[in-house]
Symmetry: D2
Subunit: 407 residues, 4 copies
């Protein structure tokens, strides 16, 4: 059977995660000149929408460049030659940020945990107590390859108490799980192509007033460069100009997904992600698979990392799922390559049918590759876990691995 | 009259320049995951299309980032601490490149001419003779704010003869005027949102084998950074991965505009741009306006810079043209701000009616602001100049200011 | 020069007249099943929007079938074997309606005027006085091929006074000129693809309560047929079903154009059409052409019929305008074929630049065919006539040929 | 949970059945004037594509009007006052055609079978033997509400042998099951919104030369009416005009779906429909439900009719499936209302995941309404039945109820 027979593609990966008809309609709008008054107004409106979505009291920055670019730009801006960075590592992205911070900081120290676990706030407290010269704490909210989150509430309080600024990679949580930028002093980096369901190509930055001051005092912060975030700070104001041409169509899409997100309501969006997460986890386990995350880890509502049975290559599983079911999963990252794949359940990939589609395609691919998989049981478990949450209120179990998961 | 009364926007600016229905249909396609086999195949096809459009014997690089980003990345990659750069300056962009090169080079020397003129190849020859340690010659093909081009045929021969590599900003010519990357040793930077009629957000790089070697030998070339072009060199190959997520929708649009360009044929596209250029120049002059370019300058076929009458602010002219005619012009750059505006006649802004729309809106705005403008004469002149070229064969007069222009 | 060189098509014809980006975005939405609750709600909303646009106190009927189908269905429903129809003829469409009415009526009598004139209400009064058994008066509001309108205010009063029902073809006026369905007792037929700028394929019917009663009493009204309008009367109600599947995408487009129309406001839309009409008329006359309409005729704000110079075939003019300027005009109807073409200035063809584009393309084509045409003068005249109306208030001159037209 | 939570709508109904991205891109193209040379060429190309898709040696007719309109128009054209029609009735649509034929024919005689069965060709043979004055045999290929097909191969041979013309409603088979218009003398009516995945609003007619002669001889065939098919016969020819404006956007969509169908290949499309059909039937039965079709009936590959358990209203089931799973099913027709619903598995609703989505949503809704449903077993059965066919070659079992169905 050729790929052409498969028809629609269900993108249940870790971003991009597909797009709604409204988003695609936005993308199809005429490409205006970036100084066109129509575009200028639309851009300013988008900044306002993003501020609402962030729940922030300061205007955010729309930075032209995919999240990886935005993270580099944020790090380069915030981390100066006098800074000591405490980098929290619970996965591949945290590890990678440590290397990046090392290019700018006086010193980078790390608290590391296993890549299937979450950072223990007690370890953070201890590190901050040991080194009172830490000026910046860096942390990844959701380690996408691991499907785990770090406890930002606790970590941000510790950072605030020690007078350090935070730099938070909230790329794969924003839009699907609560973020609290007002209480996270520093910089938070998000992106449109994850739980918002937008296009890749932009970074969405919350920068607190303290962080702006820290940047202004950093002699090495990029200026007059493509990596400078300062030039984009006020670019939406009528009396300012864009440092260079923003990606017009990606801005159209961003405005649309923010409108969709705010119309749905953050709480509804979060509940929708919780339902999908519960269903995917239960379904994967009913297929006989193990979640990659350790029992003690905090689980993400936007992505689930799943360990393959011995002898089964996750890349082959994904290939078969795509070719025979039209379902696109994610995986293949760093040390987890070959062993762990991810089901993204964020944005347009987090609707009632998404988990059913995901576990069916996954189970079907496993069988093709000779593994056992009880697809019927997986679908039943996914539905049961999904629906049990119809009356939930986002309680404490929503990011906990144990408790509400039917097993 | 409110803006809403104006209806369709005719974007006759300097990029973005609007978009065709085919381009918008491409943008509206579902946002696939960047590792989706469908997207991977489409991306590889796009690289091949771009190579054809470049007329190149090596595969080009699609770099994620608007042209300004791509130019910075190219400069950072090519220009190392041992390089002496001869920077040719005939306008704002050339001047700006000198500052950029200064961040990376051992030394930057410049040949400068008035911003309404083209660089004289004899001056380049002299500079290269004087300084045989020049390793890189940098030049802007079309100085958009000035509407002028530099003589790349002559300059590239001089560079080749002296063993220097070129770094050419061909952003606002590629797709509308001939470029000859095979004979321009080094790096050529183009972009989709100019004469191709695509979206902003990508840079299109031709890098010769010699240039790749030079980059490899540059200890300071960005690596492991958002500004690294090396990571994108082979990213289209089945056995490679993208350094980070490319802007999926912008790639869709790029593929579409390259298909449209190749279907039209480069020669037809160039002739279309010549026709529009002749018409706009003649129309502007019949309005009683002066071209910004000096008589000796080589004129661009993609953009015309026009000086406003004394006492008339180009920003106001553009504002009125947009508000009352729905026509978006460009202007307001650097030292020319307030005095010189540009009519873009590139890509979807270079069709038979485009010059008529441009000069009518321009004339109408001038009148509103109290200046005299013979719109009827301008339309007639534009039509006459446009149509005289139906039998042209792209002869030497096509970029010359004198000769074929009806005045 | 091939057609491919021409680029964008400016559809300045008599319907369809192009489409806005918003309309095309609506068309691109997923095709829902017609019983889908999402589509049912959207359909009901569309009925409400149309009622607002009609300014009616009763719900309108969206009939699946282009205007010609809707007119036949309306006639078949309203005109029974006992009816005497007074058919007013001032052009091709009125003439054609007489033949149609003859299939259903006991007798059809006619008041006819020259096809470049409007029906004189005095003649209508006389006919109604002569024949007090007239039960239905049929009239075309705008005779598209002639560019003329009939005086519906006067005619509707006469019909009302005589107790006759009206059947009005308002297809090419609704959305661009005032209609007053509340004072036009009977049936008014409109369509989306004219001054609303929608797609062809639907008829929009206002049917008064009296008319519904007349239909109910007509033993020959189509029932259980594709031509039955009664089945669609209440089809939008939750407890009813569609007689058959409506054209889902055309409904999407209709909803969108109604939203656009109501957001602009009927008065603004009408003023926009008046401006375009004045400009086109003045421009055509400055090209040395005569309007087809007689001096005494009432002129349409949505379309202008223009007589070609002796020896020039209007079909050839249109062909050249399309091939060389990308401008699509209309013409070629009935006895006017070869002599008279129409410029449509309705919907998306009635914006400030539209008349300039129209008269330039028209003049250019005339020249190609050997006729003289002062395009510069025409553009100037069009602009002058257009702008003189910026302060108009829709006074009596708005549909009068004389007076405000600069000549 | 509100409808808004449900996200994407999976339209697994009986037409429209959703639309592919390519189809939606086609719909979003600018609305050209119907006489535009670009549209004329596109229309003519569409006629050629349809002829290929029909596998016909004569040009087909694209008739403006949904299938119900096209059937009425075809009947009105073909059936004259001298005709005796043998109408074969195996469901609601056949019954309805009998009433329609009665308006035009001298006499209508019928062969009727139970609505969950297929017409027995022996009964047809007997009827034709009894009445040698039958001139037209009318038959519905697929009775959508029943999910059954009639044996057109046998019936068409009988009709041919007796010299009668056929009138075949192939609306819900064309594109998903083989049709053989070349051996079906007479008229075959199809439509875009079923197995082709297009939009409603057009009828696609194959009319044999004999049928055209019969129409020409019918004094009552509609002429000069919206219901006349003769006017559209040659409308695509350069020297002809459209009787009235066709639905431009629906033609764009039709061209696109025909291109998609021919690119996939009729055999691949048919196999895809067979796979989906097997899967849906098996899944429904594993849910504990009965197919509506009798064991002896020939089953459609495009739609499956399923009987609800006692006490469960199919309308409620569909409502829940739509509200909680985003899945739109069909049902509610005539005497089957309340008891029997249909899953459409045609066009974009006949891909590998479609049956899984359908049976999961169906099972889930049944449970909500208090019925038992083993969803896990249903998904497993659907997958098993779907995949068993990967090596099938369209043998005789493909439309047979028994044999290949896992039970």
């Amino acid at each position: 059977m050729s790929t052409a027979d498969v028809g629609p593609v269900f993108t249940l990966a870790t971003g991009p995660v597909g797009s709604t008809p409204a988003t695609r309609a936005a993308l199809a709008q005429p490409v205006l000149h970036h100084t066109d008054p129509g575009f200028r107004a639309l851009y300013a409106e988008t900044v306002t929408l993003l501020r609402s979505a962030f729940g922030a009291s300061v205007d955010p920055v729309i930075f032209p460049g995919e999240a990886v670019v935005g993270i580099e730009a944020a790090a380069a801006a915030l981390i100066g030659p006098d800074d000591v960075v405490l980098n929290l590592v619970s996965g591949i992205y945290g590890q990678s940020f440590g290397r990046l911070a090392g290019r700018f900081a006086r010193e980078v120290i790390e608290v590391e945990t296993a890549y299937n676990d979450s950072v223990d706030p007690a370890d953070v407290a201890e590190a901050l107590a040991r080194r009172d010269d830490v000026t910046i704490v860096s942390v990844v909210h959701c380690e996408t390859p691991s499907g785990t989150v770090n406890d930002l509430d606790a970590i941000s309080q510790l950072a605030a108490a020690s007078g350090a600024l935070l730099i938070v990679d909230a790329v794969s949580t924003f839009g699907g799980m609560p973020i609290d930028v007002e209480h996270w002093p520093g910089i938070v980096i998000a992106a449109p192509q994850k739980a918002l369901g937008g296009t890749p190509g932009l970074s969405l930055l919350h920068v607190s007033d303290d962080a702006w001051r820290h940047i202004a005092a950093n002699p090495n912060a990029p200026r007059g460069s493509a990596l400078s975030i300062e030039g984009w700070r006020d670019a939406y104001r009528p009396d300012r100009a864009f440092p260079f041409t923003p990606s017009v169509s990606d801005i159209y899409a961003l405005r649309s997904v923010l409108q969709q997100y705010l119309a749905e309501g953050p709480e509804n969006a979060e509940r929708r992600h919780r339902r999908a997460a519960r269903a995917v986890r239960a379904g994967a386990q009913a297929l006989g698979l193990s979640l990659w995350a350790d029992r003690g880890a905090l689980l993400a509502d936007t992505v689930t990392a799943i360990e393959m049975p011995a002898g089964v290559d996750e890349a082959e599983v994904r290939s078969v799922a795509r070719a025979e079911s039209g379902v696109m999963l994610a995986g293949g990252q760093g040390p987890l390559r070959g062993r762990v794949l991810q089901i993204g359940h964020m944005g347009p990939a987090a609707y009632p049918m998404s988990p059913v589609i995901a576990v069916t395609a996954l189970g079907h691919a496993l069988r093709r590759l000779g593994a056992k998989a009880d697809i019927g049981a997986a679908v039943e478990a996914a539905l049961a876990a999904r629906d049990v949450g119809d009356d939930d209120h986002g309680g404490p179990d929503s990011t906990a691995k144990t408790g509400s998961e039917p097993q």
